[in-house]
Amino acid sequence: MKLFDNFSDLARPDISRRSLLTGGLAAGVLLAFHLPVRAANEPIQPPDVTDGKFAPNAFIRIDTDGRTTLVMPQVEMGQGVYTSIAMILAEELDGDMARVVLEHAPPSDKLYGNPAFGIQATGNSNSIRAWWMPLRKAAASARAMLVQAAARQWQVEAASCTTSKGEVAHQPSGRRIDYGALADPARSETPPKDVALKDPKDFVYIGQPLKRLDTPDKVNGKAVYGIDAMLPGMKFATLAACPVRGGKVAKVDDTAARKVAGVRQIVVLDDLVAVVGDHMWAAKKGLDALKIDWDEGANATVSSEQIWRELRAASEQGGAIAKSTGDVTKALAAGERIEASYEMPFLAHATMEPINCTVRLRPDVCEVWTGTQVMTRVQSAVAQAAGLPVDEVIVNNHLLGGGFGRKLEPDMAVAAVRIAGKLDGPLQGVPLKVVWTREEDMRHDVYRPVYRDTIAATLSDGKIAAWKYKVAGSSVMARWFPPAFQKGIDIDGVDCAVDQPYDIPNLEVAFVQAEPRGVTTGFWRGVGPNNNVFAIECFMDELARRVGQDPVAFRRAMLGKNPRMRAALDLAAEKSGWGQALPARVGRGVAVTPAFASFIATVVEAEVDDAGEVHLRRIVSTVDTGIAVNPDTVVAQIEGGLIFGLTAALYGEITIAKGRVQQSNFNDYRILRIDQAPKIEVHLIKSGEAPGGIGEAAVTVGTPALRNAIYAATGVALRRMPVDRSLIAAGRKA
């Protein structure tokens, strides 16, 4: 729960407990080695932590010493949201950022449910969008109560008081009082019915590039991720699940594994085998020494070829109509029909922090330490696996070493609890840390689905007259959030297709659900828009070429009704030197995206060599995300999102043979490295609009911009990702 108690030199009342936990390890080395561990005699539910504090809502607690604890309803996985949320709260509270302490929220949909989802989930780049108004109102209400308390004490009008940096002031009399001194009296104030929010021109934190609150501990080894949970008496496990989805354990020979020093127990479940040891090395050596025969089941012969054959066939079906404007059939018949199809591969998440979960399962209670994007789902899934009431499952969230959608799943917690449930003898009830090897992580992911998009269009006077667009692929929503899959339409699957940015008079968008055999699909940073923005922006370049127009001019002419998108495009063209001469074999490609309510244009400059290898030279991104809560975080998310997307464009593909994922680790699932990283320039466009989403937006736009750069450099129109070097080499213009 509490992770950040070292932002300032505040007292640490829990130091003795921490010292106990770390076994008296050297102070200064492990001082912040900090976990929310309860002693055996402590009650299961922690005592009311709001005791003696001003706690007007679920997010704000002010101590009598002025320390302001902010409880984070969204999780921090690198996107900077802990700082952005703290800034929003501190803004309307007029709190003092220097005295802010952050806590992970405990599981509670009621208190911390994401307003956009109704459950406590971090995803879809909506943390700021969903919480922008609720948090501002909550903090403004708290501020009003503090002002009322001060005014009552001074016997002045509340309206004559001002607030700043954690103090109430009464200018006429020159009196000031710290929020800490008001913590007690403010408790008896009534929250105002309606509370005025600040005029954005009065913002002191929002819009400033403030330093992140989570980063100081991330440069000195003190930050605690789920995988860093350490508990007294802890044992360590690693596992092998059936490499074919749905398969079972047939036979296990553990003779050799039992002889490995430090191995304590072999746990055999119906679909996985785990080795428990004194440390990960014993567990890993033990696992390697096992001889496991699998009953691979119905998916034993599944291959990528079969999956693609089935997807291509499915994409020829009509699909469910998600949007229809004008008369597409008539408009398509009226002109030359231009068609293309685009294909996207399976992708793994490959978070840098391998999948892990620590559990302590006792007969009446289960405690979990992990880093998850779905706190309450982990809690309920663990409760079900453990056969316990939800209230008897305590979940301690941590910083996430990358999320990217992988940690929207509770599977790692369920596996850990099932293994812990089999611990024998003296191991019963001990804390068990289950860490997946990278290979296990890579092969038992929920994969970004394969998609096939087909587009048919006609042109009239250099503009698009008809546009018939169809997505075929897995509905992740159908499994993950069924209300978002209705009447055959996955709202994520058609995101950025139904609301594509261009002015097109006759338009139809359809969705065909096609679940890949033997592969579980999941959300992957950029989600549905990754696929749709790619297909749309690739086709735009092909259409532009068809009518002999410049790709920027062609797009621009159809963005008249979308001034934010057009302004981003214009700025990207200007900043990138669009139209200026380039050396041979170098191309510029442009793409735009309206994903997650941000408007981004991107120009990628890439060089292609004789072997078809692609070298990224420079990227320019222009971004209108409305009010940028922390502009530096926005820039960082654009830079990182571009690299994340381009990594997949250049290297990413998971393939299946004999039902098994063929990739295993970073040697065969390549990640873009620093020596391939281009210069990136990000230009933010000032805006007073409500904040847009920023964690995923740039992921959607880099890939089509790169593809269009290759198209410009070589004339080769790639229609499938990742980039196929042999196609480029074969088709490159001399």
């Binding site: 080894g221 990960m280 840098m352 391998p354 830079e639 970073f666």
Partner: protein, 165 residues
């Protein structure tokens, strides 16, 4: 004083020097240093990423040189001094790198950054004024999934120039 967790049945005392402190640990000789640091000593700043020396998250210094602790058997360390992310701030190069990392707000999820900082500190100790190709060569073994590479390059340049000023 560092005090390791003791395991019953394993008696293979090795003396290590970690961040200037001597400590005796019970660990099998083939156990990679990574797991000794993390699971035996509780020094969890050094990260597990791949286990096959492909990602650099586990980078520590032995004799001031960057090594991948996930594939380095503890027996191979012998009496050479080990520096981890928890101790790198005590070195001149390490402190400069940490400061530049914060000044330029390099970090996102942060999981790879222990290894990035260890690699960068080793680079600066050996090559005080690296150019971009030195930086790329020294840092190409460290993967960052959040894509912080642009800022890593800038931060190393800043840390290097800070030294000159």
């Amino acid at each position: 004083m560092l005090r390791p967790v003791m395991f019953e049945g394993v008696r293979m005392a090795t003396t290590l020097t970690i961040n200037g402190e001597q400590i005796s640990v019970d660990a099998p000789p083939d156990m990679p240093l990574l797991w000794v640091l993390r699971d035996v000593l509780g020094l969890t700043g050094t990260k597990f990423g791949c286990g096959i020396a492909q990602c650099g998250a586990c980078t520590v210094h032995i004799d001031g040189k960057p090594v991948r602790s996930c594939v380095l058997p503890v027996a191979a360390v012998r009496d050479r001094p080990i520096t981890t992310i928890e101790g790198i701030g005590a070195t001149q190069a390490g402190a400069r790198v940490q400061k530049a990392w914060l000044d330029l707000e390099v970090v996102q999820c942060g999981y790879c950054q222990s290894g990035q900082i260890m690699a960068a500190a080793a680079l600066l100790a050996a090559t005080p004024t690296p150019d971009d190709s030195d930086i790329d060569a020294a840092m190409a073994g460290n993967i960052c999934r959040c894509g912080t590479y642009v800022r890593i390059r800038a931060a190393i340049r800043q840390a290097a120039s800070g030294r000159q000023s």
